[in-house]
């Protein structure tokens, strides 16, 4: 029984992570995009999502952003980077609570070019 459980967990843990309980959201900048400047970070959802945590990680570590959207459930979430964003690889990690009560998390990455 233990091995069945382990196999079940292992299968699930190694599978490619996708986003559950939310239809494919799209973002600004788009995932994997290369951009020159970033004026705003946006997340769009099909159903209202309460974004409870968001972080921007740049080439030199975590960077400050200001939430333009409050903590209410929204279909469009906006945040503004506070600092200048030097060229390099960036990623955004977010967590939230979906309308049906599921805890959600997601991430996307983009590159800022010179």
């Amino acid at each position: 029984m233990k091995s069945i459980t382990l196999a079940l967990v292992a299968t699930l843990a190694t599978a490619t992570a996708a986003l559950a309980h939310s239809k494919a959201e799209d973002t600004t900048p788009a995932n994997e995009a290369t951009v020159e400047t970033v004026e705003v970070i946006e997340l769009r959802f099909d159903d209202p999502m309460r974004v409870t945590a968001i972080s921007l990680i740049g080439p030199d570590g975590e960077m400050e952003i200001t939430r333009e959207t409050g903590l209410d459930p929204v279909t469009e979430f906006r945040a503004i980077p506070l600092e200048a964003m030097p060229a390099g690889a960036y990623s955004v990690d977010w967590r939230g609570l979906s309308a049906d009560g599921h805890p959600m998390q997601g991430a996307f990455a983009f590159t800022v070019s010179d």
């Binding site: 459980t5 699930l12 599978a15 996708a18 239809k23 609570l97 049906d100 009560g101 599921h102 805890p103």
Partner: protein
């Protein structure tokens, strides 16, 4: 695989807590259902059903509180300190889990009334079982459309499952004595009906969630469901063997029948635990294909 959420330690903990919550809820609901159906069962068997229902209800309440903390930790992204963050806990309370917790908590408290002999205790605890079943219709995938059909299917599925799961421990006790063969035979007859309902209702719900054969084989939800169905099939096989072979053997006074039947019921309990784990995985980290 399509439709699988990111999995970290907190997600695994959430699945485990949910599975324990399912077990507690089903045993708590199943106790009063068993007592209502088997009014003339021997006192020691009825005592087990009562005692387990109350213990399960109390564990259920504790798990409910724990799940609030786990969920707050997950949405905060802060780990353990998020589990006690009042703002994050407030968001969880405002979410459908908050509504579900009120109904489930009230239901689990009412289950404790099963300790009171007579009609009042029976009625209150059965109402508790209904509240617990209904609480599950306030969260998760049953919130989709068609809402009332999904909710109705889910409540029926849970009550039928609870009758079975909640009966296992009392039946394990009953199987110790050959004179209880009539009771076990009666359970087998009733269970043939309730299990049929359980399966039909479960398949209907799954069909509404999946919608196409590709959804079954192409998604994490579909594969987790396939695992669940495979384990359920094993359980049904075991149950059929109990009903058709071991219970008649017990009735005819075969010497090893009692030990074999009890071992088989213990095996059923282990299989049920696996099914609940698969179900908690299904409802936690996979997306039904209709929602993809």
């Amino acid at each position: 695989m399509e439709g699988l959420a990111p999995i970290d330690g907190w997600a695994l903990l959430a699945i485990l807590a949910k599975a324990i919550g399912y077990a507690a809820a089903l045993i708590a609901m199943g106790g009063p259902l068993f007592l209502a159906v088997f009014r003339s069962a021997p006192p020691d068997v009825r005592r087990i059903a009562r005692k387990l229902a109350v213990i399960a209800a109390l564990i259920g309440l504790a798990v409910l509180a724990l799940r609030f903390g786990i969920r707050a930790a997950r949405i905060s992204g802060m780990g353990l300190s998020g589990a006690t963050d009042t703002m994050m806990l407030g968001f969880v309370w405002d979410s459908p889990l908050g509504t579900a917790a009120l109904w489930r908590g009230a239901g689990e408290l009412l289950i404790v009334a099963v300790l009171i002999e007579g009609t009042i205790g029976m009625t209150a605890s059965l109402l508790g079982a209904l509240l617990i079943a209904m609480s599950y219709a306030f969260v998760g995938h049953s919130l989709g459309d068609p809402r009332w059909i999904l909710a109705g299917l889910l409540v029926t599925h849970l009550l039928a499952a609870a009758f079975w799961v909640g009966s296992l421990a009392p039946l394990h006790r009953a199987a110790a004595k050959g004179e209880n063969a009539a009771l076990l035979h009666r359970f087998g007859t009733i269970a043939s009906g309730t299990v049929a309902i359980l399966v039909i209702v479960g398949v209907s719900f799954a069909w509404l969630m999946i919608g196409s054969p590709t959804g079954l084989f192409g998604t994490a939800y579909g594969w987790t469901l396939i695992i669940k169905i495979a384990v359920v099939t094993g359980l049904l096989g075991l149950a059929a063997r109990n009903k058709l072979r071991l219970v008649p053997a017990l009735a005819s006074g075969a010497p090893s029948a009692s030990a074999r039947l009890r071992r088989s019921i213990r095996m059923e309990i282990i299989i049920v635990a696996l099914i609940l784990l698969a179900t908690a995985t299904l409802t936690s980290i996979t997306t039904p294909p209709v929602n993809l």
